[in-house]
């Protein structure tokens, strides 16, 4: 885990009409870490992700992702960042490999690199046997695994995962969490994981940020947050306890 911050924001704010979706967000994420971004539905998690990707312009404040400003150098950011949206979709009448190849081409990955890379990724997510099946026939779990492969096909430095385990069965969830863990551990990719499934976040994340009603109410290592909020020194806490404490205060 390097000491270089990959994502930094300063006073990042987004206002829709009279509603403040994200309020003066300031945090940083280090290279190679898994950052859990928590919060109830509608807390502004997705809006933050979209701002970090340069898909939505912030009303005020600054952000830097991999050294680039997403609002002005969106293309450079998108070259380095893989984004897995919530409820991801595919071109259902193309097969798994064709879907991956399309996104490899959009990212200007040369064919001689993308061919072996696509095979390796399909192998990693356990879909090599289904590579020539149309994606329309895939189950939810398979689609989600294919989505991970698709995010990685560009060879990103950072991945943004928006609710990657929603709707998966327990086995699928476990496989997904293992994959997320190995992204950081084996490939050194920084993972920004947005979720409201707290036990899962607790299993894989190094640090967490808790967002409620547009405000980042806490950010740090889970142990530190536990000590601060619950006054316990041991490992005997769940993230849910910390989260509920913050939630009630807000």
């Amino acid at each position: 885990m390097g000491g270089r911050p990959v994502i930094e924001t300063e006073g990042l704010t987004k206002v829709y009409g009279s509603q403040i979706a994200v309020n003066k967000l300031t945090f940083s994420i280090m290279e190679g870490e898994i950052f859990g971004f928590l919060g109830p539905n509608g807390a502004g998690k997705t809006t933050t992700l979209l701002m970090l990707l340069g898909l939505t312009e912030p009303t005020s404040g600054k952000a830097r992702v991999c050294g680039f400003d997403p609002a002005r150098e969106g293309l450079r950011v998108k070259e380095k960042v893989g984004y897995l949206p919530e409820n991801v979709g595919f071109y259902d009448d193309m097969n798994a490999r064709q879907n991956l190849r399309f996104f490899a081409r959009l990212n200007r990955v040369p064919e001689r690199v993308s061919g072996p890379r696509i095979d390796a990724l399909l192998e990693d997510v356990g879909l090599l046997g289904e590579a020539t099946k149309k994606v329309g026939a895939f189950s939810k779990g398979m689609r989600q695994r294919l989505a991970i492969a698709e995010v990685l096909v560009k060879g990103p430095e950072v991945v943004f995962l928006d609710e990657p385990t929603v709707g998966l069965d327990p086995d699928g969830t476990n496989r997904m969490l293992d994959m997320i863990h190995s992204l950081s551990r084996d490939k050194g990719i920084t993972v920004f994981l947005s979720s409201h499934l707290l036990d899962q976040v607790q299993r894989v994340c190094d640090r967490v940020g808790i967002m409620i009603k547009g405000n980042l109410v806490a950010a740090g290592h889970m142990d530190d947050l536990a000590r601060e909020k619950l006054g316990i020194e041991t490992e005997e806490f769940t993230l849910e306890e910390i989260y509920m404490k913050y939630f009630k205060e807000a």
Binding site: T46, L55, L75, K78, G89, D93, F103, D162
Partner: protein, 320 residues
């Protein structure tokens, strides 16, 4: 550039493997072949025994025969090709939740819409060129004459104007696919506009000019009143791309036509001088007659694509 090329390639693959493409080409080829063979046989009967028939080839496309001519058919059904190819261009991506993924790739956002428009235009070009080639081939076998350079040139210009005309409708339907989230809504909206433009505008033009510049008992059929009525009606129908297209192509494909207007006021002396020049116009002259129509069509198409582009670029892409 890479982004446009990649999406363009995928869209072309999608079009050529889609059922709608097969259906629409089958329909057009079927109608085209039926019209051309009917017209071809009629022409063959009529010119039997004629020593040196001239300007026959283009009649294949303009002669109405028993039903309607090929150009009328394209003028009427052409918009449908554009609408069918474009009505779900953007909102299908939205519905299948692939648009959010697409815009988070390192491509300019306009690459998406440019590539989709260009792929549609290329597909339309393929359909049009093949049907014109099929009809020409039929014509050569039926009539036993080969088109001259002049006629080929006119056909090429006709193809370009038709491509422009159908692209206008492609632009309209892509615009609706950006504005409306629902694919059936955008299809219906585009169809409504098509019907409005092909039926109601010409009809409305008649009504409005009747109201504003009546020709009847009071004016006693004076030349000025008739002319004013006619001018007004034309001015209004110029807002309909269907009328623009009809006027432009009928002049281009018929060298004997010297004006795109239906009513021409001539004095007795002018009539005599006109009758002395009953020869067909060269292509360049026909082209200069229709230039204003073509320019209007270009302007309409660009305007439509421009609006579509602006709306799409300003739209917030949320995956919600």
């Amino acid at each position: 550039m890479q982004g446009i090329l990649t999406i363009f390639r995928k869209e072309m693959e999608d079009y050529f493997s889609s059922i709608r493409f097969v259906l629409i080409s089958a329909l057009i080829v079927m109608v085209g072949v039926i019209i051309a063979s009917m017209v071809g046989m009629t022409i063959r009967e009529e010119v039997r025994g004629m020593a040196k028939p001239t300007l026959l080839f283009l009649y294949l496309f303009t002669s109405t025969g028993k039903l309607f001519s090929f150009t009328q058919f394209i003028g009427f059904f052409g918009p449908l090709i554009g609408i069918v190819l474009g009505f779900d261009a953007i909102n299908r991506e939205r519905a299948s939740r692939t648009l959010g993924k697409l815009v988070s790739q390192p491509i300019y956002r306009d690459a998406i819409i440019n590539a989709k428009f260009l792929a549609g235009v290329a597909t339309i070009a393929v359909i049009l060129v093949s049907i014109v080639l099929i009809i020409s081939g039929l014509g050569v076998t039926l009539l036993g004459i080969v088109p001259g350079i002049e006629e080929v040139l006119r056909l090429v210009i006709y193809l370009l104007i038709s491509l422009l005309y159908i692209s206008f409708w492609l632009g309209i339907s892509i615009l609706f696919s950006v504005v409306f989230r629902n694919t059936s809504t955008s299809a219906l909206a585009a169809l409504a506009l098509w019907i409005f433009s092909s039926f109601l505008v010409p009809l409305g033009a008649g009504f409005i000019s009747d109201a504003l510049a009546p020709v009847g008992e009071t004016s006693g059929g004076e030349v000025e009143a008739v002319l004013k009525h006619e001018e007004l009606q034309r001015a209004i129908s110029l807002f309909s791309p269907t009328s623009l297209y009809g006027d432009a192509t009928s002049t281009i494909l018929d060298p004997m036509r010297k004006t795109a207007r239906s009513v021409v006021l001539v004095g007795p002396l002018e009539r005599i001088s006109q009758e002395r020049f009953q020869n067909p116009l060269p292509v360049g002259q026909s082209l200069s007659i229709v230039a204003p129509y073509v320019i209007s069509l270009v302007a309409l198409t660009l305007l439509c694509f421009g609006i579509c582009y602006l709306v799409f670029m300003r739209q917030e892409i949320r995956t919600v």
